[in-house]
Symmetry: C2
Subunit: 198 residues, 2 copies
């Protein structure tokens, strides 16, 4: 039998999304074989994240400072707010540097199946931010899933009494996408939102 | 952009077998959301493994003591030695408690493709253990792959001059296996080694 230390590490790794018990065991073996090149860097990286990272009290982003770098950046357009489900979505959108405004992380999406209710998400904080004024546009950048869109509709209802423009991401054919591989829903949206050429 | 701490953790995780860049990012997000239930246990488990585990100087097993628990166990049959490719194979065989002897971990298998030569594996140490005497049987428990079997044949050549019995694991239909899902090689081996019923 492997030692209790190895069992504990295998268990901790097997709880990560994407790793089952077998692949966690393979990962442990990989780490044991490569102590200096794999185990120690991972340990240091985890320790740094654990020691230094905090959640931004304004938007829910994760950063080494609170308020986070995005909220503290005065060059950003404070009148545009982009609401996302998760920190990963914020990273994806911010990496592209296409959105000049600020963000608000909900921390998930409404889900009857998983029992996620409005009070489980950072929705009251979002309403308070919009109510405080100074925001012209709120982009509801939820995922294009049933639950994401349900969440967007719920947020739209909560925000409709404020003088802000509510927008959402466009649906359509992804760049590089081939038509015969796309689902009917996407094709229908792309056709409905068709634009003049050129 | 995510902070450098997060980038470093994503990179360290994405080098684990079974995790790519995308799933590493999802794993990081999972850890950030569940600091006390996921990040801190993983950190403690990694730290314990890093602090306490050593490689056994005799057999190559990984344990908190050197010699390892198996090599130090006087109740084990010192006359039987089971040679395996990796520590994971040792764990798998030892978990079943079917082998009463000791082990020897090669640390891999010969591979022309990956440039693994005899001197890259713990083969000289194995020959020295057998040469020292007191061993009656050496089980060559390599994987049933081309490279595993090549390694077993190489070891058999290196060990044939000693008065030990060389054996290998039986091939055949796995328990619960259905014949029409098995490859021809396994079927051929199972048929060749067929036994009288009952």
């Amino acid at each position: 039998m492997a030692s209790p230390e190895i069992e504990a590490l295998t268990q901790a790794l097997s709880r990560l999304p994407g790793l089952g018990p077998r692949s966690a065991r393979r990962a442990v073996l990989h780490l044991l074989k490569r102590r200096e090149s794999a185990l120690e860097p991972l340990l240091r990286a985890l320790d740094a994240v654990n020691e230094r990272l905090v959640t931004c009290g304004i938007c829910g982003n994760v950063d080494t400072v609170d308020p986070c770098g995005i909220c503290a950046d005065q060059r950003r357009d404070a009148r545009a707010l982009c609401v996302v489900e998760d920190v990963a979505d914020l990273w994806a959108l911010d990496k592209s540097r296409l959105f000049p405004g600020r963000f608000h992380v909900l921390g998930g999406r409404l889900s009857a199946l998983e029992g996620v209710r409005p009070e489980d998400l950072s929705i009251d904080a979002l309403v308070a931010r919009v109510e405080a004024g100074g925001i012209d546009e709120v982009v509801l950048a939820m995922n294009a899933t049933l639950e994401g869109q349900t969440t967007a509709h719920y947020l739209a209802e909560r925000l409709e009494r404020f003088p802000v423009r509510l927008t959402q991401l466009a649906h359509g054919v992804p760049v590089g996408g081939e038509l015969d591989y796309l689902d009917e829903g996407t094709l229908a949206q792309a056709l409905r939102a068709r634009r003049p050429l050129g």
